[in-house]
């Protein structure tokens, strides 16, 4: 009996110990592929399309990083992770970076020992209900049965929100989006709660999207961003600045279409020149080629283009930029100077 406990524990620990060395950049270069953890399937953020190609807002970050490091946006192994498996995958070294609508919180940063490299989407938790329920505000949900994805911050926010508002709650924990869909559409739960961007994404996939309404309350702050393990700051810098390069590119008007032209020769704007590697040695400081940012931007365009292609008002998901607009347009997206 004792030995079987010991054996099981150690086997578990042994499995988790594979990989995860300090120099992630060297590993990725040696492997020739970036291992990127993404959602199991969430429209707009990470979803395989009809031909099996991963597409989405988070996927675009993975591809940009792969292009910056390896020069090839297709050199990515996409590892789909659930809310429950994502942190173990990252901590054990199965993936190099996690880009999966993951909320930046104090304890994930300090206790779980991860580094959030930035916020690629400022989100907040909301509720979706069928219109026929006749509910217009989340404060009317006293006694409701609520479907909730287990293993997320939304689970804790939900309990807090109902407690603060002195309401009772019947939670139905679910593992995947598909299960939530079954239960919610059958009326086994009155409301479904997750990040508002996620609600917009699932709503368009319902048979009659117009029969469902997203309630106006936003009950939490959900800054979503890519994250890496503590302890390899050089690797974190690469993800962080690749992401900022995309944001800065939008600010300075570098797009998918004109990036090659701008990178061909130094132009008038020294900041653009430094980003695109026609001036200075920023790439070398990260341990990358001088055209790293050019490659990253050339994949899917700048931050604004990525947003418009995957989540924006021309897509089914139809999300406004809101907080995710550039700081120059009243939003929160702001890249530090490239110098």
């Amino acid at each position: 009996m004792k030995t079987s406990v010991l054996f099981g524990t150690l086997a578990f620990a042994g499995l988790a110990a594979a990989g995860a060395s300090a120099a992630t950049l060297d590993d990725v270069k040696a492997r020739g592929k970036l291992n990127c953890g993404v959602n199991t399937g969430l429209a707009g953020f990470a979803e395989p399309d009809a031909s099996g190609e991963w597409r989405g807002f988070d996927v675009a970050i993975c591809r940009a990083v792969a292009a910056a490091i390896l020069g090839d946006p297709s050199a990515v192994n996409f590892v789909s992770t659930t809310g429950k498996t994502r942190f173990t995958s990252l901590a054990s070294g199965e993936i190099d970076v996690l880009a999966r609508n993951t909320t930046w919180t104090f304890s994930r940063d300090a206790d779980l020992k991860f580094d959030f490299v930035g916020v690629n989407y400022y989100d907040g938790q909301g509720f979706i209900v069928p219109k026929s329920l006749g509910v217009t505000s989340a404060t009317e949900l006293d006694g409701a049965t609520v479907c909730i994805q287990t293993g997320t911050t939304t689970e804790l926010n939900l309990a807090d929100y109902f407690r603060v508002n002195d309401m009772s709650l019947e939670p139905v924990p679910i593992e995947t989006e598909a299960e939530a869909r079954t239960q919610f559409l059958a009326g086994a739960c009155d409301a479904y709660t997750t990040d508002r961007s996620g609600l917009a994404a699932v709503r368009v996939a319902y048979p009659n999207p117009d029969d469902y309404v997203i309630l106006p309350e936003t009950i939490s702050k959900e800054p979503l961003g890519p994250l890496v393990r503590h302890g390899d700051t050089e690797w974190g810098d690469i993800i962080r600045w690749t992401y900022y390069a995309l944001v800065a590119a939008e600010e300075y008007g570098i797009t998918k279409d004109n990036v090659e032209e701008l990178a061909a020769a130094p132009g008038d704007n020294p900041e653009v020149n430094r980003i695109l590697g026609t001036e200075g040695e920023l790439g070398a400081m990260l341990g990358l080629d001088s055209d790293w940012a050019k490659n990253a931007i050339a994949v899917n365009g700048n931050y604004g283009e990525i947003f418009a292609d995957n989540l924006g008002e021309n897509t089914q998901i139809d999300l406004a930029r809101g907080l995710n607009a550039l700081y120059t347009e009243g939003g929160l997206q702001y890249a530090p100077p490239f110098r």
Partner: protein
């Protein structure tokens, strides 16, 4: 036949004999096995020590006393999100035990019935039972759980269907509401009794409506249990008396009315004295309020585990019965026993000795299979401690260790109890 080993010659020990001499060879291989085992465990330990996750955070069970922060749907003991992770884990453990015990009981009943009917002389019944066994034991239990959950979610009406003047659905007999969130049963409670004094009567002096006055009922339930136990022993005494009479006179006195009275009268009297009332579920707001809710996650899990494991138990039972020589059946028939009594008095008691050991394995399987509960959102131990707590605190190693300790302990307890029972029915050699 003789074996020619002969007495060992005293020509001393050579190193080669470790492999060639049968007297030493087994020691050699055992030593090699031990060394390999030690190396293997050493590798595992060193691997664990070098594990980056472990190096970063170490092993620390302090998180168990911190507030859990999440809601749990089925709460056998009081719980709020402010309760500790430990309490959440205990609730999960109780939920695991609830579904495991329920499933063990129903799987045994189903299995015994199906196993006996598989040997029926009726062709239709026999084949029906074969179909049941083959279908259920050849499809993974996870699929069955999902099938039953999906069925219950989509077949039964949502609570909103009960609303309005002309609702699409009505509660069964006005008492029991079957919805796609679960089944709401009326809940019995007591209005007088011991434990807690009821609140003072309403200010308007109207004390003719006692139903709203509920008293703490755990002590009352103990009284009810004591009465039931009393009835049980009284019935046993009546049966013993009847047997003594039968042995003495050859005629068994009619006792069914005594048995019935002994069960019903004291119980009815007790419940009347305690002031039994029923709390009937009523649709208020989003859900039915009041009554007892058996969530469809529990029902789907319980049902799936029962029918799945029942199919295995049916095969154990059939094998046990077939192992009893047909001479026993024929001898009993020759004595004039009817088929039901042959089965009950002659075959099954002997078959039990063969059935019980594999039955223990099936009970252990049920217990371990309850850990699939999270796929239907049933909050068992794997869902609370091994799921949400693990995920929110990131303490994977600690949570998995506790999980393993729990399942191991519980399985060993089941084994011990069932082995004791097995020993009691085993053939006594004197």
């Amino acid at each position: 036949m003789t074996t020619m080993t002969g007495p060992p010659r005293a020509d001393g020990f050579r190193i080669g004999k470790l492999l060639t001499d049968t007297r030493y060879r087994s020691y050699t291989f055992q030593a090699i096995a031990v060394v390999l085992l030690i190396v293997f465990f050493g590798w595992l330990v060193s691997n664990a020590i070098r594990n980056p996750v472990l190096q970063q955070s170490g092993i620390d069970f302090g998180f168990l006393s911190e507030p859990a922060g999440y809601e749990i749907s089925q709460q056998p003991i009081p719980y709020t999100p402010q309760s500790s992770h430990l309490r959440a884990a205990v609730i999960g453990a109780i939920n695991t035990l609830i579904v495991a015990l329920l499933a063990c009981v129903t799987a045994t009943v189903l299995g015994v019935i199906a196993g006996i009917l598989r040997l029926s002389n009726n062709w239709v019944i026999r084949k029906l039972m074969s179909v049941y066994v083959e279908i259920f034991r050849n499809i993974p239990v996870l699929i069955w759980i999902l099938i039953f959950m999906t069925l219950s979610v989509n077949v039964f009406p949502p609570p909103s269907a009960f609303r309005g003047d002309d609702p699409d659905a009505t509660p069964v007999l006005g008492l029991m509401a079957v919805t796609n969130r679960g089944i709401y049963f009326p809940r019995p409670y007591f209005t007088n009794g011991i434990g807690q004094v009821p609140d003072a009567p309403a200010a308007d002096g109207d004390d003719t409506a006692p139903e709203a006055q509920e008293v703490a009922s755990s002590a009352n339930w103990l009284i009810v249990l004591a009465v039931l136990a009393g009835s049980f022993f009284a019935v046993r005494a009546v049966n013993n008396w009847a047997t003594v009479r039968q042995n003495a006179t050859g005629l068994r006195p009619t006792t069914w009315w005594m048995t019935l009275a002994l069960w019903v009268v004291p119980l009815a009297l007790t419940l009347f004295l305690l002031g039994l009332r029923w709390d009937v579920p009523e649709l208020r707001g989003f859900n039915f309020q009041g009554g007892i809710l058996a969530r469809n996650s529990l029902i789907a899990l319980w049902f799936a585990l029962s029918v799945y494991t029942g199919a295995f138990i049916a095969e154990n039972v059939r094998a046990g019965i077939l192992a009893i020589s047909s001479g026993q059946t024929e001898a009993a028939a020759a004595l004039g026993l009817r088929p039901r009594r042959i089965m009950g008095l002659v075959v099954l008691p002997q078959a039990l000795r063969i059935i019980i050991p594999p039955l223990i394995s099936q009970y252990l399987n049920i217990t371990k299979n309850t850990s699939l509960a999270i796929v239907v959102g049933y909050m068992d131990l794997t869902a609370t401690l091994g799921g949400i707590t693990l995920n929110q605190t990131g303490r994977a190693l600690e949570c998995i260790l506790l999980l393993m300790a729990f399942y191991l302990t519980f399985s060993l307890v089941i084994s011990a109890v069932m082995n004791a029972y097995n020993a009691s029915v085993a053939l006594k050699e004197r």
